[in-house]
C-alpha cells in the first residue's frame, strides 16, 4: 500500500489532497515538522524530506514527482489530460509553475520570517520577495482563463499543485483582493471536500 509521510502545512498537503481526490487507499504517517537548521534533509522520513512517498521499493520525496507518479500509476486517467491531448501543455505548465516559480518566493519568505530570527535585518529583501511573490500571483490571475479550474471545466492535479501554493500565499498575506479571479478560484478550492479532508489531517 502507498505510504505517505506527512506534516501539516507542508508540501505533503498536496499529495494528501491528491490521494483524497482519487479516493485511493494509503497509509498516513504524520511526522513533526522540524525547523531546518544545520541539516536541510533531517525530517523523520526515509529520505529526510517531507513529503516522502513509499510504494514498495520506490521512494520519492519531491511533491511534483509524487503527484505525477501517483497519477501515472494509479490515476486511471483521472485528474490529468492524456498525453497528446490539447490541454496537456497547459497542464504541464501549471503543474511546474506552481512550485518552480510561484512557490519559490513564498518558500524564501517562510525561511526568512519563520526559520530565522533576524527578519528585521532584511526589510528590503522582504519587500523584494513580497513583490516577487505578487508577480507570481499576477501571472496566474492574468492567464487563469475562463475557469472554474486552470484547465477550464476539468479539475486536475495542476489545481492541486497550485492550490497548495495559493494556500501558502494566503497565509503569508500575498494572496488578497488584488487578485479577484484567484480569490474566487481559491474559494472553489476551499469548498472541495477532498481539500477539506486533507487540511484536517
Amino acid at each position: 500500500m502507498l505510504k505517505l509521510y506527512h506534516a501539516p502545512r507542508t508540501r505533503s498537503q498536496r499529495v494528501l489532497w491528491l490521494l483524497e481526490e482519487l479516493e485511493l487507499p494509503f497509509e498516513l504517517v504524520t511526522v513533526p515538522f522540524k525547523t531546518p537548521s544545520s541539516d536541510f534533509f533531517a525530517q523523520e522520513t526515509p529520505l529526510g524530506k517531507i513529503p516522502t512517498l513509499e510504494d514498495g521499493a520506490v521512494v520519492l520525496c519531491e511533491s511534483g514527482a509524487i503527484v505525477e507518479y501517483i497519477l501515472e500509476r494509479y490515476g486511471d486517467n483521472r485528474l490529468a489530460p492524456a498525453i497528446g491531448a490539447p490541454e496537456r501543455g497547459r497542464y504541464l505548465q501549471w503543474l511546474h509553475f506552481a512550485e518552480g516559480t510561484a512557490y519559490l518566493p513564498l518558500g524564501v519568505l517562510v525561511w526568512l520570517t519563520r526559520y530565522r530570527d533576524d527578519a528585521e535585518k532584511h526589510v528590503s529583501l522582504l519587500e523584494d520577495l513580497r513583490h516577487r511573490a505578487a508577480c507570481g500571483m499576477a501571472f496566474i490571475e492574468e492567464h487563469f482563463g475562463e475557469g472554474p479550474w486552470l484547465l477550464g471545466e476539468q479539475f486536475s492535479a495542476a489545481d492541486v499543485m497550485t492550490g497548495f501554493t495559493l494556500t501558502a500565499a494566503r497565509n503569508l498575506g500575498v494572496l488578497d483582493e488584488r487578485y479577484p479571479a484567484l480569490m474566487d478560484y481559491f474559494s472553489r478550492i476551499e469548498a472541495r471536500p477532498a481539500y477539506q479532508r486533507a487540511m484536517q489531517r
Copy 2:
C-alpha cells in the same frame, strides 16, 4: 516548427540542450537577459519569462514543463523511461528535484549576489544559503547510484535538468571536490557534444 526563446546561462540552456540531444529542428530566438527589478516577468518573450517555448498555439515558460512536453510530443520514447517502467519513479524524482530542491538556494544566491547590490549586508544569509545548496549537492551525491547517469546506463532528461543545476552550482562555487561522484558525473556531462553545442549558443 518549435521556437525557443533563449538567453545564455539561464534555464533555457536545459531546453536547448534537450533539443540538441534529440536532434530536433527548432528556431532559436536569443534574447538579452534583463536583470529582474520591478517586474519579474519582463523578459522579451511571449510570456515574459526565459525559457519560453512556442509550438503553434501552445506557449510554455517553465523549463520542467517544456522538457516534459517536448519528450511526450516529439521524444519518440527517447531520454525518458516509459510510463510504468521500473525506473520511471526515479526519473520523475530527479526531474523535479533538480529545480524544486537543488536549484532553489542557487537561484536565491544569484538573486542576492548578482541582481541586488547589497550582498555585504546579508553575510549570514549567504552562509545559510551556501550550506543549504551544499545539502542539495550532498543529497544527489549520496543517492547517485552506480552511474554513469542518474538512471544508470540510460542517459535521460533527468540528467539534463540536473546538469544545468550542477553547471550553476559549479559557477557559484557550490559544487567542488567535496562531491567526488558529482564531479565525475559533471565531467561526463561536459563531454557530451549536445551539451557543448547548447553551451556555445
